[in-house]
Assembly symmetry: C2
Homo-oligomer: 355 residues x 2
């Protein structure tokens, strides 16, 4: 048990949303504050967040427009998925020291009440507990259900992936290969393009930088002269329009994200939806949360492919809650290499304060 | 048999595309010419077109961009569906005097070769042979398969229809009611709105005129506070965006047409596709031709509903090939009331020249 003095000294740094961002989030939209470490009431427990996940979708949660999640209220810590350790518990299933994963916030300590989505994780089974925020977390499951369920490609079909070097996209391409697809990945910059081919096994990698929509369409057409059967869309804008221009009859577009427009007030959307009629194609939006009852299936499949050496994944870990904003903005600048994760505390230190 | 002199006198007026329209088609894009009446070789027959169908989709065929149909070549008659009578035949299945329907062109006489899509029709079964261009033609089948197959609504669900007073939309709403839906129709002008409610049985009719996107969204929301399950989209632009803002989780958008952008070079498409993700919704483009093997089923169902008095339909018939362009432009001005049809010759006169 910590001494009384240590308890008083321990503070909870929290990354609060204090203003709704217009366009690209700026430092003035947030405030880093010291708050007391919360205490658990009956049925609750306190988690020290070790790793928090930074995802493009979080940008939407900062707006006050209706979406699939309520907006982050002003004055509260920014909602995020996290992996951490229980440091105080009044819940029998979550003992002190246990590793958990769930939706908390960018803050050092979170109080998890009843109904909070948090589950125990087996950190012995993986190289790093952070993997539960990447390949074995929402990101991996998004790739898994997006390909296996939404696109359901047949062997030999062509799969086009935008944001292909990103956390989701890098897994999408590999799952596509496992299912027998020919894969075409789009990413920005020669370094990423090289990674698509050498590390994620894409059959063709296209650099969108320096290409207008017509040039992008030409590049896709060169890579898939008969058109693409499946599109896994993470980006939107010109890249989605070029993909829509490249559809084969009966194609499916899985709409996973539209990162290119999260920071702009004027939405471009998809100018080329006429092509959905021309090719009798389907565009389907999905959220990984819809597959919650099947998360077990998805994690088992991903874990098995990992074990067989058929899946490679990358994590880009930045350190310190004071770097929350620049780390988050990497997603929009494209300067992250792999799943963007912010480490808030040392894994071994995580239970020291109260453990 | 006609005399030799009559044969020489008979000319074939043809409405040729001579320049690709930029934006709204103009008289300079077309030329009305007199050509000799064609003759049939072995296996062919000549049809005198009595009614030709004028459809929004024909606008796309005038461009030289790739689509689901090859562009109409410059210097040829504008492709159109038509109903007419056989006036000369060297095909045993299509005797002189028979009524046929198929894809021909805006011209008085068409030569139908092997492989031409033309079928015999039973004109005794309908009030007018033109009905095979409306309720029992592609328009009716588009409404039928779009609702029954693409949307497949459950009883009690809400169906939103744009272009609801149009040839397809007016039938879509009625089929929706037959299947037990609550129907909301969008059209332009008070006269059309009245027709939606009084003639086509829409539960709610919304006039888009004088409404910006926000006002349109508010009107849809007032009509469907819990959102819409199904959208049958004929229009695009602001109207589609407002529909996308009004989706219920798991909604389906059947993309049938985008008439609002057929005459503009810059395509708006759908700015609001983010809502497809938020509501895990599906947008599916379709063409009635994909349902060709099931046309019999569709025509039987439509004919049965007609006979039961459960389906009302309207045709807007303009007369004379010299009016082809103004009649076609009605579709974009919204001044037609019902399926737009151009009558080229009198039904009874249709076989006189060669019959």
């Amino acid at each position: 048990m910590p001494t009384n003095k240590e308890k008083i000294v321990a503070m909870n740094q929290r990354f609060l949303l204090v203003r709704r961002p217009q366009g690209v989030p700026s430092p003035e939209d947030f405030e880093l504050v010291d708050a007391p470490v919360p205490s658990a009431s009956e049925g609750e427990f306190i988690v020290r967040n070790v790793f928090v996940s930074l995802d493009p979708a979080m940008r939407g949660w900062l707006d006050d427009t209706p979406s699939y999640m309520p907006p982050v209220p002003l004055g509260t810590a920014v909602r995020a998925s996290a992996v951490g350790r229980v440091v105080e518990s009044r819940h029998p299933d979550f003992p002190v020291g246990a590793w958990v994963s769930g939706l908390t916030a960018i803050e050092e300590y979170s109080r998890i009440g009843t109904g909070g989505f948090t589950r125990l994780i087996d950190v012995e089974a993986v190289p790093s507990p952070s993997n539960y925020l990447s390949v074995l977390g929402a990101v991996g499951l998004t790739a898994y259900f997006g390909v296996v369920d939404v696109l359901a490609p047949k062997p030999g079909q062509t799969l086009l992936v935008s944001g292909a070097a990103g956390a989701v996209g890098s897994l999408v391409g590999q799952i596509g290969k496992i299912l027998g697809c020919r894969t075409i990945g789009i990413a920005g910059g020669s370094e990423k393009v090289q990674r698509l081919e050498e590390r994620y096994g894409y059959d063709v990698a296209i650099d969108y930088r320096g290409k207008d929509r017509a040039a992008l369409e030409a590049a896709i057409q060169a890579a898939a002269p008969n058109g693409v059967d499946c599109v896994f869309e993470n980006v939107g804008g010109d890249i989605l329009d070029a993909a829509l221009s490249s559809l084969r009859d009966g194609a499916t577009v899985a709409l996973c994200g539209l990162i290119s427009e999260y920071n702009s007030a004027e939405k471009i959307g998809a100018r080329n939806i006429w092509q959905l009629i021309v090719h009798r194609a389907t565009m389907r939006g999905f959220l990984v949360s819809d597959f919650l009852p099947r998360f077990g299936e998805g994690m088992q499949a991903m874990a098995a492919w990992l074990q067989d050496g058929r899946l490679r994944f990358d994590e880009h870990v930045d350190h310190g809650i004071e770097n929350a904003l620049p780390a988050f903005l990497r997603l929009f600048e494209g300067t992250n290499q792999g799943k963007m994760i912010l480490q808030l505390s040392d894994a071994d230190e995580a239970t020291r304060v109260r453990g």
